[in-house]
Each structure stands twice: as C-alpha cells, then as structure tokens.
Symmetry: C2
Subunit: 283 residues, 2 copies
C-alpha cells in the first residue's frame, strides 16, 4: 500500500502502544486547552487525537459510548435528568438521548473545539445535538458541578480524558463531592476508569476518593475498546445509597433503540467481575 | 527512562498496531519453521515474537490460555481425552491439566523450539509439562490429526498462530474433517478465532469450513487479550452434534483450581454475543 504511514501512541504508564495506518492528516486546531488533530486511517475511519493521545475512531467508538451510558441508565429506576461532564465529541450524549424517559441531558465540556471537530469529522455522533432535551455547554465542568442545584440530577457521567492535564481535577474528592450533592438520593455517578488490566491502582484510588465524597457502592464494568491502551477499558458506577447494581433487565431487553455492543446479556456479562480484578479491588 | 526502545507490530489486515517498551532482546532462534525472538519489556514481563508477530507476554497470557481451555472443558459433560494442536508455549496445556477428570492431554506442535523457548523464558507456563497425563509431541498437527484414532478424543483445541504460514492448513475443511473424525459424538472443537471486531469475515469463513467438515453448532466467545491486534480476541467452539453451549455451571463455580480471568460468571458473560457480532455471524 502506498502513501500511508503508521502513527503510534506510546502509553507511558502501561509501557504499551497502539498505532494506526494513516492516509493523511485532515485537520488540526490548537484550542486554549489542548491540541486536537484529526487523521484519516485506512481501516478505522477518522481518528481524533488530543495532545497526541487517541480519543476515538469512527469504527470503534460505539463500544465506549454505549457502555458509558446504557448500563447506568438501565440501572437507575427512572433517569430523567442526566449530566455529562466532558464528552465533547457528543457520542455519549447521543446514546443517553436514545432513552425516551430522559427529559434533560446537559453536556458540559470545557473545550468547544472538541465539539466543533466532532461536528465536522464525526457528524454521526452529533446527530442528536439538536434534540430539544439536549443542552450543550462549553464551560469548566468542575465549577459547573460545584454550582449545580443539590439533589437535581439522576445520573452524572464523567466522560473525561485521562487524569492528567485539563481532566486531572475530575478524579478527586472535591469534584466527586459536587457530584454527590447534585445527585438525588438514588442517583448514580459514572466515571470512565481506564484499563482494568494495568490501571487497577487508579481504579482503587478513584473509589477511595468517591468514598470520601460519600458514595457507598461501586461497580467497575469492563468492555473492549481497541483505541485505548491495552484495548480493554472500563467504567465505574458509584451509588449514593446502597441499592446495588442490578438493572432493569426487562426494560433493557425491550429497549426501543438499536445498539451495536450493548444488550441486556452483555450488561449482565459486564457485571461479572473477573477474579483478578475483584481481588485487586477487594470485592 | 533510559536504555529503552519501543517495538511495534504493524498488523496489516486490521490497519492497527500494538507496541511495547523494551529493555533488551533476551534470545533469538531461527527454527526450521519460523524465527522466535524473546524480549524483556518494562511492564509486561517477557515477550515472545514469532516472525515478528506478538505471541504472548508474561503479564497477559493468562487471559488467552484460560479462555482457550476452561469454557470448552466445562461445556463438555466429562472430558477425559484432550488434544492441543499447536500451543507450543504449553500455557493451554497447563490450564487443561488443572481439570482432575482429564486423563490424557496430547500437545502436538510442529516446532519444538517454541517449547524450548517457553521452558527457558516462560517457565511458569511449563510447570505441568511433567504431569504423567501430558504428552508433548513435536510433529505436524495436520498429519497427526489425520491419523488419530476415530472417535477417541473429547476435545480438540487448535491453539495456533494466525492463518498464514505454518498454521494456514489449520483453518480449512480437510483439517477440520480430521478433527471431526477424531472426536467422539459429544466432542468439541475449539479454535482461536482472531479479533471479533475486525476479523468477523474470517470467523464466518472458519465456520463455513467447519460446517463442511460436519460440525453442526458454533459459538464464538470474546475475551480481552491486550497483546493481540485490537486487544479483543475470541475462541470459537464447534460441536459435532447439536447439544448447545450451556455449561456445567455448578462444577465451574465449585472448581478446585485457581483462575485469574475465568469464572462461571465470566463464562456466562462470554456467551452473551454482542449484537453487532451476532448480526455479522447470522446468529
């Protein structure tokens, strides 16, 4: 194959790398917060990098976006008000809005340029941005959560980059405390929680910080995500009150929308924590 | 970090790559069949490459070896005689021999050098090679299966490299026909079946070939495997007779051996075929 090159992301904390065969760079913008680049790959559609780290590809982002949203929304008894912190590519928002019971979905990403690039290069992720239930804010998610009306939110989804740079403040007690206050008693916090194979220590620490903020129960759901380090990723659900992580399985089986990875059976499977993960998390 | 380099495997059929941070090359041998290299990584223990393709690392091989063995052995009602074609690193053999009901486990790999390198650099995988139930053969697996006594085997595990080079003949009707003859009526064939994200066409073709050889039922179980392309891998189980893929769940829960990824719940979860995989496989 001619006119292609390989582009790699070396993931230093794990000592492993992921790469793609690239046709050309499509776009680049330096926002006030980070550098966003878009590449055309040979096999994965378009690829977004932020400060050199792979964010998403056209081909495999459905795995992450479906698993960041549907398990939590089918675990909550009746989610009406959802807040997404980060998530500027709008893919999680799109999945959340597939739930007809959702009355309001606020997406608060600090960097408007991420959404502008998504609109241009991943338009399918933005197809529900005009939904009257959707509100797109470009603001500091930490401050926004701190000022959010107490007990007003059913689900907070922290769809952030890695816990370095702009997203570092989304992984500590202060931020989780704001989420705790904003949530109703039966509310659920969802945090993308990195690779369960190599970053179990990070998941432990995250749970400790969530616990300090008042959250009482935690569950980490693994799922495949080829574009992230190790190809195996996770989200962690936290509850204010001890209500467990059983989900509305009948509703999940009868859902009126399509999904490509998520199903009631896949959800059930993701609740099966592998023994080595359970051991590391003291479950 | 000084004195380290990054080593990448470009996986051409998927247009993606995987890489590791390397301290140094530990060993290299050119066998009559292939070039085997061993590297010391910074975070993944030792790494084996065959003809430049990543075969296994110390850190994550348990995922593959457990999933290539335990689901099939807990699906069969009473597996006594197991044959492994390929599998020269002996990791699958080790897992098979954890089942006390297994009376005989034959491992037939064409390349003795793979086993010699595993003994040297992955000794933990070879710790059961001296088990009196184990028989290690270094021979052509295609010829060996063709000459195997009909109806004498409970489970055949095809633990092969990709379907190119020495392993190409392990993915066609002729070889699967030999497996079909060698298996008892309630026997199960297990084939490593590549990435369910990008190689669904290969899994389809494999099933067609298995079907031509007489196999009637198929089930593809996905699992994480960071060292293989996309980080998401699979094994495909095929049955001679239509008996389904329900497993001895009570026995799996009560198993007397440790496993790090496999559990009865993880097995149940792996049976939940994601919608996009089911659609591609016409399930």
């Amino acid at each position: 194959m001619t006119d292609t090159t390989w582009k790699y992301e070396n993931f230093e904390p794990a000592g492993s790398a992921i790469g793609y065969r690239i046709r050309r760079k499509l776009d680049e913008v330096q926002s006030p917060f980070q550098k966003i680049e878009i590449y055309e790959t040979t096999d994965w559609g378009n690829l977004m990098l932020i400060d050199g780290a792979v964010m998403l590809t056209t081909r495999d982002n459905f795995l992450y976006h479906e698993m960041m949203s549907h398990p939590a929304l089918f675990t909550h008894a009746d989610p009406k008000r959802v807040v997404i912190i980060g998530g500027g590519d709008c893919g999680t928002l799109r999945e959340v809005l597939k739930h007809p019971g959702v009355e309001s979905a606020v997406q608060c990403d600090i960097d408007e340029q991420v959404t502008r690039m998504a609109e241009k290069w991943f338009p399918e992720l933005c197809e529900r941005n005009g939904d009257p239930r959707a509100q797109l804010l470009f603001d500091d998610g930490i401050a926004w959560m701190a000022n959010c009306e107490p007990g007003s939110v059913d689900i907070v989804i922290v769809d952030s980059t890695d816990p370095v740079g702009p997203a570092e403040g989304l992984f500590n007690k202060a931020f989780y405390g704001s989420c705790f206050r904003a949530l109703r008693d039966d509310g659920i916090l969802v945090q993308q929680s990195e690779s369960p194979l190599v970053l179990l220590e990070l998941i432990r620490e995250m749970r400790v910080e969530m616990g300090k903020a008042g959250f009482t129960e935690f569950k980490t759901l693994p799922f495949p995500q080829p574009c992230y380090p190790t190809g195996w990723w996770s989200c962690t659900l936290a509850r204010k009150q001890a209500r467990g992580f059983e989900f509305r399985e009948t509703d999940a089986r009868a859902k009126a929308f399509d999904s490509r990875y998520y199903s009631a059976d896949v959800h059930r499977g993701a609740l099966a924590t592998p023994p080595f993960v359970a051991a590391a998390l003291d479950e």
